[in-house]
């Protein structure tokens, strides 16, 4: 007998429940796409299996372009985001610029994709700040040029919009991984052998770090291939991306188009799986080449001279694009008359804020309600699952982590249409409950990613001491562990809330147009192109999670104003 047996208590079933709540909707949604894709949808009178939906999908003239777009934007956005992330870490780690970059990460992470995309769109549009800054003196443009920059058929602006949001995510994941692979030691060894900073990092640290960030990279790839809201704002329109077209079919009055949408969803899933396999194969090839390269002994000291300024430039450019974009959104929301090519509005007006105030406040209420509910549920489940792991004295389960990633690896557009159909059948569509459960599927993984490391890094001697003082497992959890982890819990909650605020597709589909959040309303304005209106909604969409983030960072000092140990 190794130790006295103690009942795990209420937390014992939580890991299984968590997996069920994550995998259940994904599996049900995929089934709900697979069956209609082959014509089986009794609600619409489809009782016989047929290939008709596939035939109609193949007849869509945009199919080839949409498939190409999905693969190109996915691979492009992922490769560029990963390259920028690794360049920044390899070249800048340990510098003051790096400390600045790390501090900017948390607020950047809380920024919804749609708000970042709108900001970028306002910046690079033919009538945006970039064009204004060089007109007319350099370009001769007296009016916005007739250039297809936004929604270019190659998807370049879509890739740019994805990159500015995925780099912060991958950076955060890389930073977390660095601590686990003794990166500093490896670098000391490499540099004492005469290796340059960047070459040394790539040869000694990257292989270990990449193994740790592989799942996040796959999540970025799956997301970039199938994103809907960013594609609606920055992506091409004729034809749109496959994901956008699927959502369009889902919303048509002709219900038979839902069968075509289901076939499209299955195709999207197959595309993502195929591209993930391609990426995985490329990883192996590169790893094999890399081994020979690393063993070749090249010190690459000259690389640093180029890599440092390059990393600084890229990080600065990405940061400036986001900041200027957001500033542009805010300025447009209060702009009166603003002629091209003026850099600044000629007059200001609060008219759009006043006109939208009622709608905005309603949307804030709904957004906050869904966000708080989904975050609270996710926190409870994640805490329960981690506590169950602790009480069972189990090692972190790799299978559990992989299952938590599942909703991030299966494209939203592949399983949410099917899930919506199921909600429709049981009469839950358009209800806050359905939207909250759908949000939970995406909020929970991020809450888990944010909380798991600090939870496991907690000094378990505190539990031993508390037990030896007579405290049972419940008291250790509530009176010792949770209060000590206040900071990590608050940040995890803020990340969860921001994830919920940013959700477009689950809100749109499960909400059936009746649950209106800041994100669904803002994205709905994209096609209209009224910049002042978009400015108002996008600013609110950006502010809500930001306010929560600032509150989360301030929480430990508010709760424990006189305890220094709680602020670290």
């Amino acid at each position: 007998m190794a130790r006295p047996l103690r009942s795990a208590g209420w937390v014992r079933p939580v890991p299984a429940l968590t997996v069920l709540l994550l995998a259940g909707p994904v599996a049900a949604g995929l089934a709900g796409a697979l069956l209609p894709a082959f014509g089986w949808m009794p609600a619409l009178g489809g009782n016989a299996l047929s290939l008709d939906p596939w035939r109609r999908l193949a007849e869509w003239p945009g199919l080839v372009a949409a498939v190409r777009l999905s693969v190109v934007t996915g691979l492009g956005a992922t490769a560029i985001s990963l390259a920028i992330t690794l360049l920044i870490v390899a070249a800048l780690q340990g510098t003051r610029a790096f400390a600045l970059v790390t501090r900017a990460l948390a607020p950047l992470l809380s920024l919804p994709h749609a708000a970042a995309a709108f900001g970028l769109a306002f910046l690079i549009a033919p009538s945006g700040w970039v064009a204004r800054a060089v007109s007319p003196w350099a370009t001769g443009w007296e009016r916005p040029p007739d250039l297809l920059i936004l929604g270019d058929p190659a998807g370049l602006s879509l890739i740019a919009g994805l990159v500015v949001k995925e780099v912060p995510f991958l950076l955060l994941m890389t930073l977390a991984a660095l601590g686990q692979v003794s990166a500093a030691q490896r670098m000391t060894v490499a540099r004492s052998l005469g290796y340059g900073r960047v070459t040394g990092w790539v040869k000694t640290v990257l292989p270990a770090v990449y193994a740790q960030i592989r799942l996040p990279v796959y999540a970025v790839l799956a997301y970039s291939m199938s994103v809907v809201d960013v594609a609606l704002i920055l992506g091409p329109t004729r034809p749109p991306t496959l994901a956008v077209q699927i959502v369009d079919w889902m919303g048509q009055r002709d219900l038979s188009l839902r069968l075509v949408a289901a076939a499209g969803a299955v195709l999207q899933l197959a595309l993502v799986l195929g591209t993930l396999a391609l990426w995985h194969g490329a990883e192996r090839g590169l790893a094999r080449l890399g081994q020979g390269w690393a063993a070749g002994g090249g010190r690459g000291r000259g690389v640093d001279k180029v890599a440092r300024p390059l990393a600084l430039g890229v990080a600065g450019l990405a940061g400036a694009a986001v900041l200027l974009g957001l500033a542009g959104l805010a300025l447009w929301s209060v702009a009166g008359l603003w002629r091209f090519p003026d850099l600044w509005p000629a007059s200001f007006s609060a008219r759009h804020w006043q006109g939208q105030s009622r709608g905005v406040l309603d949307a804030v209420r709904t957004t906050a309600l869904v966000g708080v509910l989904a975050t609270a549920l996710a926190l409870a489940l994640v805490i329960g699952a981690l506590e169950a792991e602790f009480r069972a004295r189990a090692r972190p389960s790799r299978r559990f982590t992989a299952l938590v990633y599942l909703p991030l690896l299966v494209p939203q557009v592949a399983f949410l249409p099917g899930l919506t159909t199921l909600a429709l059948i049981v009469g839950l569509d358009g209800q806050v409950v359905a939207v909250t459960v759908a949000h939970l599927v995406f909020v929970l993984p991020y809450v888990y990613l944010a909380l798991a490391d600090p939870w496991r890094a907690w000094d378990t001697r505190c539990a031993t001491i508390a037990h030896s003082l007579g405290a049972g497992p419940g008291r250790v959890l509530w009176a010792v562990r949770l209060p000590m982890l206040t900071r990590a819990l608050a940040i995890a909650a803020a990340i969860g809330f921001a994830t919920s605020v940013a959700q477009y597709l689950p809100t749109l589909l499960l909400g059936a147009g009746r649950v209106e959040t800041l994100t669904t309303e803002a994205v709905a304005l994209a096609a209209g192109g009224n910049r002042r209106l978009i400015g108002v909604w996008a600013v609110m969409q950006m502010l809500l999670p930001l306010v929560v983030f600032v509150g989360a960072l301030a929480l430990p000092a508010l709760l424990f104003p006189r305890l220094k140990g709680m602020r670290a």
Partner: protein, 212 residues
């Protein structure tokens, strides 16, 4: 109160690590010495019921004749002090002591203040533990352990992080109070001075006497 280790044996993957029988009388200190990694701390973990799964334990642990081998940590009433004080950072000094004091204790504030006075820390109940010196933290940790009314005391190299001057003070502070309360003490250390100050028997993890 007596602490009895009845043919305690700890193995790891079948390999024997600790094999020890001992009878520690009230107020007596048994010192366990040996190089790091020999299983000293593992034995303490076993005695409080927090042995990692990689180890297997046989034998019985008795406190005042009661077999406590199968009890969870919180039901054993064995106090433990580590080389770090491990004060809870989210509680004030008084809060840390209050955490240990049994719930139904009357006059909690007075008891806490009395414990602080006993440790030469008068009026420090509201202090942030992060602002205390190493010696002060060690004394708070001891008072916290004693307020939970333990029936035995385990010391895991509790003086090794203190500077030389404080170490002697803290040793007599701990041993005096354990003796006054009649607690059996098991101390793990690799410092011969600790063992000399304790004054009791000194053995290694196999129960063989160690000469200082």
């Amino acid at each position: 109160m007596t602490l009895e280790l009845d043919r305690i044996a700890i193995t790891r993957a079948g390999a024997p690590l600790v094999a020890l029988s001992a009878h520690i009388a009230p107020g007596e200190v048994l010192t366990l010495m040996g190089p790091s990694g020999c299983g000293k701390s593992t034995l303490l973990a076993a005695l409080i019921g927090a042995l990692p799964d990689a180890f297997a334990l046989s034998g019985r642990v008795r406190l005042n004749g009661q077999d406590i081998t199968a009890l969870p940590t919180e039901a054993r009433r064995i106090g433990i002090l580590f080389q770090d004080a491990v004060l809870f950072p989210h509680l004030s000094v008084g809060g840390n002591l209050g955490f240990a004091l049994p719930r139904q204790t009357p006059d909690r504030a007075a008891r806490i203040e009395a414990a602080l006075a006993d440790a030469g820390l008068n009026g420090m109940a509201e202090r942030d533990p992060a602002t205390l010196s190493g010696g002060q933290r060690a004394r708070v940790a001891l008072m916290r352990t004693l307020l939970a009314e333990p029936r035995a005391l385990l010391l895991d190299e509790p003086f090794s992080k203190l500077d030389a001057a404080r170490r002697a003070q803290m040793r007599s502070f701990v041993f005096d109070r354990a003796r006054a309360k009649g607690l059996p003490v098991l101390m793990v250390t690799h410092d011969p001075d600790d063992a000399r100050a304790a004054g009791g028997a000194v053995v290694d993890v196999r129960g063989a006497p160690v000469s200082l």
